[in-house]
């Protein structure tokens, strides 16, 4: 009788632990260098930006968003770094660790070898991060990070 009780208890705890563990499973972070411009016939917005397309248009006033550099990184340990780069720009992302709701990230935007901007952020799955970069021609460089 007692052995059965411990067996049932053990199985229940194992199931609970199993159900809780995936909450900390590996997450994927999409990082993009996005060039926002106004054109007469805008291209379709990349699928990664569909979620925030309305906000981007409303905030920045552009109708076309093209990805000029991107990286998709699956975070396993939470302490990884990666680079999303275009011909002239590079976004270096250094993940410093995991929080309950996301990751601590150190972001550096380089224009060739010049460091233009550095920021530290706590990226959560619930909300993407958009950084307004420099003006490029008639457009605007945007940095977008989305935890997927």
């Amino acid at each position: 009788m007692q052995r059965r009780f411990y067996l049932v208890l053990g199985v229940s705890l194992a199931l609970i632990a199993g159900s809780v563990a995936p909450a900390h499973a590996a997450q994927e972070v999409w990082s993009g260098l996005v060039m926002a411009t106004n054109v007469t016939e805008p291209d379709e917005t990349p699928p990664e930006l569909h979620r925030i397309e309305g906000t981007l248009k409303a905030l920045f006033g552009y109708n076309q968003f093209k990805v000029i550099g991107q990286s998709r990184k699956r975070l396993v340990t939470g302490s990884e770094d990666w680079l999303a780069s275009s011909k002239y720009f590079a976004l270096h992302v250094d993940s410093k660790g995991e929080t309950g709701a996301g990751y601590f990230l150190n972001l550096k935007l380089f224009q060739e070898k010049n460091l233009l901007l550095e920021t530290e952020a706590k990226l959560s799955k619930a909300s993407p991060l958009v950084i307004k970069g420099p003006q490029v021609g008639s457009g605007q460089l945007l940095l977008v990070l989305i935890e997927q």
């Binding site: 709701a101 010049n114 233009l116 952020a121 909300s127 993407p128 958009v130 307004k132």
Partner: protein, 173 residues
């Protein structure tokens, strides 16, 4: 035709008579010793009859009561043993179903409580937060930084103005 032993037994019991008795006694090698033995047998029989008579019971009712109780106890033990031996080694299906349902309920409750505990705290910690930001003052001396969150998509925005503008070829992939 009786054997000697049968005739001897019948003679000791005094069951031989007539010619049969005469013939048997005539066949005895030592009649005096045989008579002596017959007397001893009779004595022994009388003694045993006297000693082995059923004794009258002084407390008959009490004895019967004790006996009935003992029988009842033995019958109860036998039934218990039967019950124990009849009990199956595993739980019956009904009890297993109940145990499974109870385990599932406990598991669901624990999962719900744990998940609620994990999601209940301050919602703001589930939004992206900008902890700090800086630009190189030598490259962009007039840059200003502000940050906000949009309500609709919960997009966290780091708004940097005053960065040095670049020609359009920098938009290349």
């Amino acid at each position: 035709m009786k054997t000697f032993e049968e005739k001897w037994t019948a003679w000791l019991d005094g069951e031989l008579a007539g010619n049969e008795l005469a013939e048997f006694e005539a066949s005895l090698p030592d009649k005096a010793a045989a008579q002596e033995e017959k007397r001893d047998a009779k004595k022994l029989g009388a003694f045993l009859k006297e000693q082995l008579q059923a004794r009258s019971m002084g407390n008959e009712e009490f004895f019967h009561h004790q006996l009935r109780e003992r029988i009842a106890t033995d019958a109860g033990e036998a039934r218990t043993r039967e019950k124990v031996s009849a009990k199956p080694a595993l739980w019956p299906i009904g009890r297993l179903v109940w145990a499974g349902a109870a385990s599932l309920a406990i598991f669901s409750l624990c999962t719900f409580l744990i998940l609620r505990e994990k999601t209940a705290p301050d919602q703001s910690q589930y939004l992206t937060q900008i902890l700090n930001a800086r630009v190189d003052p030598t490259v962009s001396p007039n840059a200003t930084i502000s940050m906000f969150e949009t309500k609709e998509d919960k997009v966290t925005v780091l708004w940097v103005d005053g960065l040095q503008s670049l020609p359009s070829e920098y938009a290349a992939k």
